[in-house]
């Protein structure tokens, strides 16, 4: 698709649910923006745009990166707007305050929050527009509004009066916004909670879906950027003469993060980039290695400032002293790369004091603000259009590649598409931080845990990304730290340690380290107590019905306690995360090379209300496979500040032949919705680790559980 840059237009709009009545400006890029400018599309509120010809466009303020929000967000609006999903189009919302994710405080797609944030406000937004259409019809027909109903894009009145939403849209957009429109009881939902075909699938099976890499602007040129092999390093000097003489090259320019070659095609740019000679000032990062990062994090548990994750319960020290048995263990998770399949890219066109940005991002306002800051522009002069994201997993919360594209465009005064190589992507990520968890528990004579001291040290992404002050609690490090079990005396400590690594939010964030530690440890306690891991957990869940329910559902479905094929074992794990309760059972064996094979994963989840159950299942499948890779196969290592993994041969995600059968049990629930994009990623690792321990007698306490790691672990 070729984009035509549009002149900026502001539309004064009455906002939707969140702010009720407050006037907000926003502007919509692209063809929808043009239609609005021409007066043929009307905007009763920021979420609903109705054209005269009755084409209804619902906006998704959340980026579509595979999690199905281009379907689930409109489903929530459509439920109360009374339109079929088949009748609507979906567009990406521009950056605007009205689209802020209330759970994260910015226009961000992440944290498994889209449905949780949108659950009420999007239904209210749909209901408001429905009521405004009815009010407009009542005025036009001079009939009582109680006699009017809206259904499937048509408004019906008495005596055969009828009108399309489109015919009423212009008038409806001028009607007062009802603050508390009538809303359906969830039991009357016709769309929400029903399996619904994704609106983005058709374009994703014939090559027409537009990702960032596919963006094309008139006169656009292509850039490849050489960055310091050590993240954070700067260009000392460079010789670009050979690159500049290479075929198709337009210019060689230095920006903050490196040296960019700009050419008529990307391949020409990439080839010429390989001809650059650059002297780097590598900076402090050159001293980093993965071993030193882990050691430093472990040391911090002794020397760092201890923050309370939650108020201590009872007296842990006394209970440990009086315990019949004390169990201690340390768990480590390594760095990880996000490695989405679409390498980082963005298209930018900077002209004078205006900038147009098009591409894949999870953080629209951040992109706008960062580019404005880097180029000295006003944020409102930076227009942003969001394409499909070829995977996100947290990587596209970051803004580095967007700022780079804008800086290169400014330097060459042309529209530029910056595209990283896979090697650039793998070696210049914002890595999942290392986590070191040390757990200590006291058991009474019956084997019941009477005391638990949980300590974790890791690095704060929130400090780096959002300037969280030092030594203050980062909630994104404490997720799933406090497990659901009833233990009388508990203490949960966090130490924040800055390793110097450039860290980022990675799917399931700190649930990964904390659930791996808690749930591995729970199996170790069961073993010390001589109890079955499932029964042991269940005995600690009195008064925790949602935990107990999913635990039982998963165990029953997986056939816990029943005979298995020879050479196989089951492991179980339980967690609450993102308001979703989840248990998983992994069935594993070892192959001839000593590698762990996962044959089957059974997952039971209680996530409250669901919007699209088919998407829920897809996300469970997805996040389990994603987590399996980190549990068994890949990690990021570092030598002299250089990330050693460079492409998918030495950072190997799970492939089809390694994919287990995934059995899913979903709890029908009317609890408030929980997130589903991430939690399963964190639960699968301890389920696998526990199964491996059962099978081999070897307790691997550091991920990934490779054949080599197993070889080096003694039978406990």
């Amino acid at each position: 698709m070729t984009h035509t840059p549009t002149s900026r237009r502001s539309f004064l709009k009455t906002s939707a649910a969140v702010t009720g009545g407050l006037m907000l400006g926003f502007n919509l890029p692209g063809t929808l923006g043009q239609a609005m400018a021409a007066g043929t599309v009307h905007t009763p509120n920021a979420w609903v745009h109705i054209a005269d010809n009755n084409v209804i466009t619902l906006l998704s303020a959340r980026s579509e990166m595979g999690q199905g929000v281009y379907t689930s967000m409109p489903m929530l609006i459509a439920e109360e707007l009374h339109v079929d999903i088949s009748q609507i189009k979906v567009a990406a919302a521009p950056p605007d305050a009205v689209y802020v994710n209330a759970l994260l405080g910015a226009q961000i797609t992440g944290g498994s929050t889209s449905v949780r944030d949108g659950w009420l406000k999007l239904r209210v937004a749909g209901a408001q527009v429905r009521e405004m259409l009815i009010t407009a019809a009542a005025a036009r027909w001079a009939v009582d509004r109680d006699l009017i109903r809206a259904d499937k894009g048509m408004v019906y009145g008495p005596k055969g009066l009828k009108s399309t939403y489109g015919e009423l849209a212009e008038a409806a957009a001028r009607m007062p916004v009802p603050e508390k429109p009538p809303m359906k009881d969830p039991k009357d939902f016709k769309i929400v909670g029903k399996r619904t075909k994704r609106v983005d699938t058709p374009a994703k099976v014939n090559g027409t879906a537009e990702f960032g890499i596919d963006v094309k602007l008139p006169g656009m040129v292509y850039a490849s950027l050489a960055q310091c092999p050590v993240i954070g390093g700067k260009v000392k000097s460079f010789d670009g003469a050979k690159a500049k003489a290479s075929a198709g090259v337009i210019d060689v320019v230095q920006i903050n993060d490196g040296v960019a070659v700009v050419a008529n095609s990307w391949w020409q740019a990439k080839k010429a980039r390989d001809l650059l000679t650059i002297q780097w000032d590598e900076g402090a990062g050159a001293a980093l290695s993965d071993a030193s990062v882990i050691d430093g994090t472990r040391q911090a548990l002794k020397t760092g400032k201890v923050l309370e994750i939650t108020k201590p319960q009872g007296d842990v020290a006394a209970a440990l002293k009086g315990a019949a048995k004390v169990v201690e263990a340390e768990y480590v998770i390594p760095m990880q790369a996000h490695a989405p399949l679409e390498p980082m890219n963005f298209t930018a066109h900077v002209q004078g004091n205006k900038a147009l940005l098009i591409g894949p991002t999870q953080f629209q306002q951040g992109a706008q603000g960062a580019v404005a800051g880097a180029l000295g522009l006003k944020p409102e002069d930076v227009t942003l259009q969001t394409t499909f994201l070829g995977g996100g997993f947290g990587r596209r919360l970051e803004l580095d590649f967007i700022v780079q594209a804008a800086q290169i465009s400014k330097a060459v005064n042309k529209p530029v598409k910056l595209l990283w190589t896979r090697e650039d992507d793998m070696t210049h990520d914002f890595y999942r931080p290392v986590g070191v968890n040390q757990l200590k528990a006291g058991l009474d004579a019956s084997g019941k845990p009477v005391a638990l001291h949980f300590k974790v040290a890791s690095q704060s992404v929130t400090q780096r990304a959002f300037g969280l002050p030092k030594d203050t609690m980062d909630p994104f490090m404490a997720e799933a730290a406090v497990a659901g079990y009833n233990i009388a005396n508990t203490q949960h400590d966090l130490v924040i340690h800055d390793t110097g690594v450039r860290v980022g939010y990675w799917r399931a964030v700190s649930h990964n380290m904390n659930a791996f530690a808690n749930e591995s440890f729970m199996d170790e306690l069961a073993k010390a107590a001589g109890k079955d891991p499932y029964e042991y957990r269940m005995s600690l869940l009195a008064g925790k019905p949602r935990f107990a329910h999913v635990l039982k559902l998963a165990a029953d479905k997986a056939g816990w306690g029943k005979p298995l094929a020879k050479g196989r074992a089951l492991g179980i794990a339980l967690m609450e995360g993102y308001d979703t309760y989840m248990a998983q059972v992994a069935e594993v064996s070892l192959n001839d090379s000593g590698e762990v094979q996962v044959h089957r994963v059974t997952v039971a989840a209680d996530m409250g209300h669901m919007v699209n159950p088919d998407t829920v299942e897809a996300q469970l499948q997805s996040s389990i496979i994603f987590g399996m890779g980190a549990a068994l196969k890949h990690q990021i290592t570092m030598t002299a500040g250089r990330v050693q993994e460079t492409n998918y041969h030495n950072f190997q995600p799970v492939r089809m032949n390694e994919t287990p059968k995934i059995d899913i049990v979903l709890v029908k629930s009317t609890e408030k919705p929980g997130g589903i994009g991430e939690p399963a990623t964190a639960v699968v690792a301890p389920a696998i680790a526990n199964a491996v321990a059962k099978l081999t007698g070897k307790r691997v306490r550091r991920l990934p559980i490779t054949a080599e790691a197993l070889k080096q672990t003694a039978v406990a």
């Binding site: 595979g66 090559g207 990702f211 596919d214 997805s622 492939r655 089809m656 994919t659």
Partner: protein
């Protein structure tokens, strides 16, 4: 110097340097952007196209090597999503982010061209070089079986 070949049944002439990978010719010169760049090293399969009916990694296929040959991309399956694989992919809502799916579809198309009733092992064999970071494999497998059944009936 230009290279002549066929793309999706039509004659094409490419002017890029002859060592340019076919991927970039298809995407940037011919403007067919369904074929994706994932790794640049034949490790992920996102760039899979057919050359004379064989699935190849276009990121590792120099333009010079397709002179006079027939190249088919995801766009050749059908524009209206009527190809059995597209029908099955929609039925199972296979894609998540969707980025790898063109490559998945072209690997699957090459498999079904030879084998209208592939076993799980044969599907694994044909598809395990296509990475999907979203983990859509379960649905890819189910959709291939459905498409194969449709093609057997047709």
């Amino acid at each position: 110097m230009s290279v002549d070949f066929q793309i999706n049944g039509k004659a094409a002439k490419a002017n890029a340097e002859t060592d340019t990978p076919l991927l970039w010719v298809i995407r940037d010169e011919l403007g067919l952007t369904g074929t994706k760049f994932g790794c640049g090293a034949a490790l992920c399969g996102a760039c899979t196209v057919h050359v004379d009916g064989q699935p190849v990694r276009s990121c590792q296929t120099p333009l010079s090597s397709v002179s006079g040959k027939k190249v088919a991309t995801v766009e050749s399956l059908s524009k209206d999503n009527s190809h059995p694989l597209q029908v099955a992919w929609i039925k199972h809502d296979v894609p998540q982010c969707g980025y790898c799916q063109s490559g998945q579809l072209m690997s699957a198309a090459a498999l079904l061209a030879k084998n209208k009733n592939p076993s799980d092992a044969e599907i694994d064999q044909a598809m395990s070089a296509n990475l999907c970071r979203c983990g859509t494999y379960t649905r890819v497998r189910a959709a291939i079986k459905d498409a194969a059944a449709m093609m057997r009936k047709a």
